[in-house]
């Protein structure tokens, strides 16, 4: 079985996060990713965790050989610091090593298959797997307006149709029929890429079973977005500094308040910038505005030009303007801002929370939205990548067999929902649609 990994602790605020890796052969990497690789099994070691780009974190690590661990196969666990940046780097490292992200119940399933669980526990394994296979459909019920799996089915059909023409052009090249041209393949794949891209954009990460409203913090650099974000979370998750442009990626977390929860996103400050890396972060911010429900603009000056610029960026989204650093004596002149706060001493933060939860409750969806599991979103993203790769090749008219391979992989990203497409049924489609053969 392949090597899989998963975050064993919740993917939100925590002091510590634990990653589990399991699968025969996984111990081979210990020597290369740990500065002080563990030597004895079942003993806890302290070590640095290293990727190609340097040290990720200082971590605890313990490994198990074969049947001694939970899954009954070679496995190890990494205890890292719970920051999202660290979590992200660890995930990237594991993916680079070609480990797969574990599906729901994967570890328990493996434990069961390797005789680590009793027969009576089998039912619970089945339940988990069943839940995961139904999950796609449940997610569609959760979605604000259904149609999730229907859309996926129709995309997979469109991929199948394209493959029909492309495989036809390969296997029946001496027929007097130009599959690629007559099939309108080049136009179709372009449309498919655009449409599927739109679909992927409509897919949002589903929270633990409930809909989560997303709140994005934007504003000029150094206005105190990260500080306010940390204040809301009650922990130091985002990097705070007095150098403008400190936050470069989006940082996400979840806030629980009044029995409801909302996701908050901290972002890079918005201004025209020379720094290439930061520039990317800002693009990301702007791109994310359309995905969130509420935009919170954070300012530390009364400059209404800044305010209007950012309000404009927020478009039609619910917008809350916040004036920060009240402890420094700034005041809300003419009630220009919705809330006055101090991230430093916490003044006004409760009022802000109330406002956010009030506004986010009313925040209706703009257009259709689907809530999907991260695994599916990842699959769809990959699928889109394969479709685009195929599109480039088909447009240039070269490497048709590689485009065919891209499409085969793209189709595989629908397997979890739609089930596999066999080559025999693909051939069947070709024979029933085209007069082929001698």
């Amino acid at each position: 079985m392949s090597i899989v990994f998963a975050l064993a602790t919740p993917a939100s605020k925590s002091a510590l996060c634990v990653f589990r890796v399991s699968g025969d052969g996984c111990l081979k990497v210990l020597g290369s990713i740990f500065g002080n690789p563990p030597i004895e099994p079942r003993r806890f070691y302290h070590s640095s965790l290293i990727s190609q780009s340097g040290v990720i974190d200082s971590v605890g690590v313990v490994f198990f050989k074969g049947s001694s661990g939970y899954t009954g196969e070679d496995s190890f666990e990494v205890y890292a610091h719970g920051g999202l940046a660290v979590m992200g780097s660890v995930v990237d490292l594991f993916k680079e090593l070609d480990f797969d992200e574990a599906g729901p119940g994967e570890f328990t399933k493996r434990a069961f298959l390797n005789n680590k669980l009793s027969l009576s526990e089998a039912e619970s394994v089945v339940d988990v797997i069943n839940a995961s296979s139904k999950e796609v459909l449940e997610v569609s019920l959760n979605s604000l307006s259904g149609g999730f799996s229907e859309e996926l089915y129709s995309f997979s059909e469109r991929v199948d149709t394209l493959r029909k023409f492309i495989e036809g052009s390969i296997d029946f090249s001496d027929e007097d029929y130009d599959f690629i041209k007559e099939g309108g393949v080049v136009d179709d794949i372009s449309c498919l890429c655009a449409d599927f891209g739109g679909f992927v954009n409509k897919c949002y990460l589903a929270g633990e079973g409930e809909l989560k409203k997303m709140v994005l913090f934007v504003g000029p650099p150094n206005s105190g977005k990260s500080s306010l974000f940390n204040r809301l979370l009650g922990s130091d998750r985002a990097l705070v500094s007095d150098i403008p442009g400190t936050t470069r990626d989006l940082i996400e977390s979840e806030v629980f308040y009044n029995n409801s929860s909302f996701g908050v996103l901290d972002s890079a400050g918005i201004r025209s910038t020379e720094d290439v890396v930061e520039g990317k972060g800002i693009e990301l911010t702007i791109a994310h505005i359309k995905d969130v429900d509420v935009v919170v603009g954070v300012f530390d000056s009364l400059c209404d030009k800044e305010l209007n610029k950012i309000k404009a960026l927020a478009g039609g989204k619910n917008f809350i303007s916040v004036l920060n650093k009240s402890d420094l004596g700034v005041f809300n002149k003419d009630g220009l801002f919705d809330v006055l706060v101090s991230a430093k001493n916490g003044d006004g933060v409760t009022e802000l929370k109330n406002k956010i939860s009030l506004v986010s409750e009313n925040a209706g969806p703009d257009g259709q939205k689907y809530f999907a599991r991260s695994r599916h979103i990842k699959l769809f993203d990959e699928g889109l990548g394969f479709l685009e790769a195929a599109m480039f090749k088909l447009r240039s008219g070269s490497d048709v067999e590689l485009a065919a391979e891209d499409l085969r992989f793209a189709r595989a990203s629908f397997d979890e929902v739609v089930g596999v497409k066999t080559s025999d049924s693909l051939l069947g489609d070709i024979f029933s649609d085209f007069c082929i053969g001698k």
Partner: protein, 620 residues
Amino acid sequence: MSNEYDVVVVGGGHAGVEAAHAVYRSGLSCALVSFSYETIGQMSCNPAIGGLGKSHLVREVDAMGGIMAQATDMSGIQYRTLNTRKGNSVQALRAQCDRELYKKAIQDTLKLTDIEIIEGEVIDLLSNKESVFGVLLADNTEVRGKKTILTTGTFLNGIMYTGQDKIQGGRVGESAAIPLSRKLYSLNLPMGRLKTGTPARIKMSSLDLGLMEEQKGETPTPWMALSEHPTEHQKQLSCYITRTNKNTHKIIKKNIHLSAMYSGNISGIGPRYCPSIEDKVFKFGGKDSHQIFIEPEGINKDLVYPNGISTSLPKQAQEDFIYSIAGMENSQIEEYGYAVEYDFVDPRSLNPTMETKFFKNLYLAGQINGTTGYEEAAAQGLMAGANAANKIKNKESLILERSEAYIGVLINDLTTHGVTEPYRMFTSRAEHRLMLGQDNAEQRLLIIAKKADLVSEKRINSFEKKENAYNTFLENSIIKRKVKSFIDSSGKKIDLKEKASIETILKRTDISRENIIEISDTGPENLLFLDRAMVEIKYSGYIEKQKREVLKNKKLNLKDIPKNFPYTSISGLSNEVKEKLNKTQPTTVGAASKIEGVTPAAINLLLVYIKKAELETLDA
């Protein structure tokens, strides 16, 4: 009278001769029993070897010491590479052959061996309840063998149809194998009927080729065989292309009720990719013209094979519609088209070694397993022969993976999914086709073949010499040299911001071959190596990905599903999937995962339930 051999092969078609030859090469004694010596190596249908998916099989058979590729080269009268504008892995060579010369090449090759050829009809198997130990001929001779391989093609209870006429026989002018069919039915092997058809044969001199489009062969003329071929090609001939027209279709429609296939006489299922002209006209009414390839039957033969108009219409109607085609108005028909219906054995009753699950020492290969085509037959014959020999010698079974060879795909498809129509190979059946080029069959298979005693030390040595030369080329090659600009395949000059190696450029985009030759001043002696390197680099990223896929599937393929597994009891499987599993009865979890519509979650459930069943039996 009774003779005893290591292996007895029944049938002198493409499967039979490869089976016998494989046994011979592995050093064991072999008898080949066939109706008549004269028809050994006979091409029943069109006089061509190769094509997409098929030349891949031929080259693999060649790399494993088979004789089909060499016989093709001894008789090839026109060669064409298909898909030249597509990438290397999906290019395929197709060769027209002189039908007589092909047969002669096969027969001559067999003469050089100590294979005992016995003329006669096999009417019975010598068997007890669980195993087979030879065959009985119509003249009461017993031919005993430790292993018996049946390769009886279209002959088992074969019935030929032309219009309302119906005669017994497996091929025009030959008889059918009736008693043997009865015997197999009596053994309760799972069997069914399939059908196929063939067009009329026409005198070349009666055609007006001037009205047709000429299709010349490729120059320089390539070879089918990878390393050992004759010094010179046969005389090369052209093919011609003409088309059916509205009038042709009108005639066919008028007579359709007389067609054997449409009047309900035939129940067997025919290949959808080899439709009769009746099918083309009826199922695809929208098209009012279909292509016909006029293929010469041989160098000294005044006969052509009109590829594309196979039919089971009565003779008069065949004449009428043929006369309506441009250039064929004055056709002199030498032989009429016909359809043939025959018994086949469900190949799911075979192990991957081609031995039947129900009877020890009985192997089946070729069209008897529901396939169609010479190449498919040859590949199975070789594998059956090699496995029978290996078993006698107590050697490991010879089983090729889907990722190793088209032969692996063929046998895996047959033995796990069975057939619903005559099975033909296509490149799209091979999910790992990027790794399985027709040019790299030796790299993939020669060593495996050596282990099974199928190829000589000499061939291995010369192969290794070639490989070493290639590796030296790669090491010193300029492919690693960095350049600042290059010319892409459309002739555009591209300037790079930063120097990059030719290898890197090749991986990302297309650089013109001429340009590489120029930059690297590769001499003509190294051009083949350069081409190979270009392909390998271009595919490398994809192949890495495929290799990972293979590794992932490996464990699933090894996990067996118990016989008669109660799929209906698995909660969480959709009824549709349950039904498919029940019908297919896959033997491994890997096979189950390749059934249409099955999801990864379904496979997970299956794994858990299999485990549960195992634990329950332990508890009990």
